[in-house]
Amino acid sequence: MAREIPQLNTGSMADISFLLLTFFLLTSSIDTDMGIIRKLPPPPDPNQENVDVKKRNVFNVLVNKYDGLLVQGRPMDISQLRVAAKEFLANPYDRDDLPEKKVENIPGLGEVKISKGVISLKNDRGTSYRMYVAVQNELTAAINELRDELSQQRFGRKFSQLTSEEQINAIQKAIPVAISEAEPENVGGGK
């Protein structure tokens, strides 16, 4: 005759797993990592000669050590930078003091005028990181808005909502991230 097996009391099992749960909740952090993604250029080639870029194709942004902003030789508030950068890159009225455009055939978009404009960003060693990120953010915002507009026009939805790889590549090619950071110079001397 088989012996009767006494039943296990599993009521406290839930308490134990609750304890484990709270332990993991406390020790881990849900830290979704967000940020501005950039690609650094490869180190400069000493044999390479300086490429002359036409003055009209360059948008100079300087940040000094007091976090002051100088755009195209004029002081500017950060709140206006996005609009200024957008106008420079888009050059909607084909003004001849704003960058040239070259017509290129992009699969999926057809003939597109691509701006030759480059944003040149230069900062001092004393600039605060907060200001630097703010400037980078505004410049990225300008490019993102232009991409959204083009995407809305051609595909009927925003750039971030595009799903087809081909469409994303086409827009990225039509409006590249043309932000160039100057080679650091030690202007003031020391750190």
Binding site: I36, Y129, N137
Partner: protein
Amino acid sequence: MARFAKKGKRAVPGINTGSMSDIIFMFLFFFMVITTIRESSLLVKIKVPVASEVSKLERKSLVSFIYVGQPIDKKYGTESRIQLNNAFASVKDIREFITREREARDEVDRPLLTTSLKVDEETRMGIITDIKQELRQVGAFKINYSTRKGSVVQK
């Protein structure tokens, strides 16, 4: 209506709590999967700056972090320092750090390695420029400026 009248006291059946633990365990596994345990404890004070145009970092396992900020412990001074893994480091140590991070990954994933800069907003750009120059030399071109979500302009 007496036909429906209940006779006597009815015993309330006991609730079976056996499956409760399974449910809680499911919760536990869910949380374990979606969260990440911070491997290195911070030695520097970091409050990342705000930005609105942020994108999420994909593939957490392919991200290596460089922390820069003021030391929490005042005996290390008040100047911004670099933290790699669990110790203070100098700009020269970045080269070795990146090489080691690369070796820890599969051959296929190495070009996708991203370096995330977690930098305090009060830091001066000088040290960041040095780090960026060093990363360029090593060939770690993909970087990410870690930020909080927020609006830059109105302050």
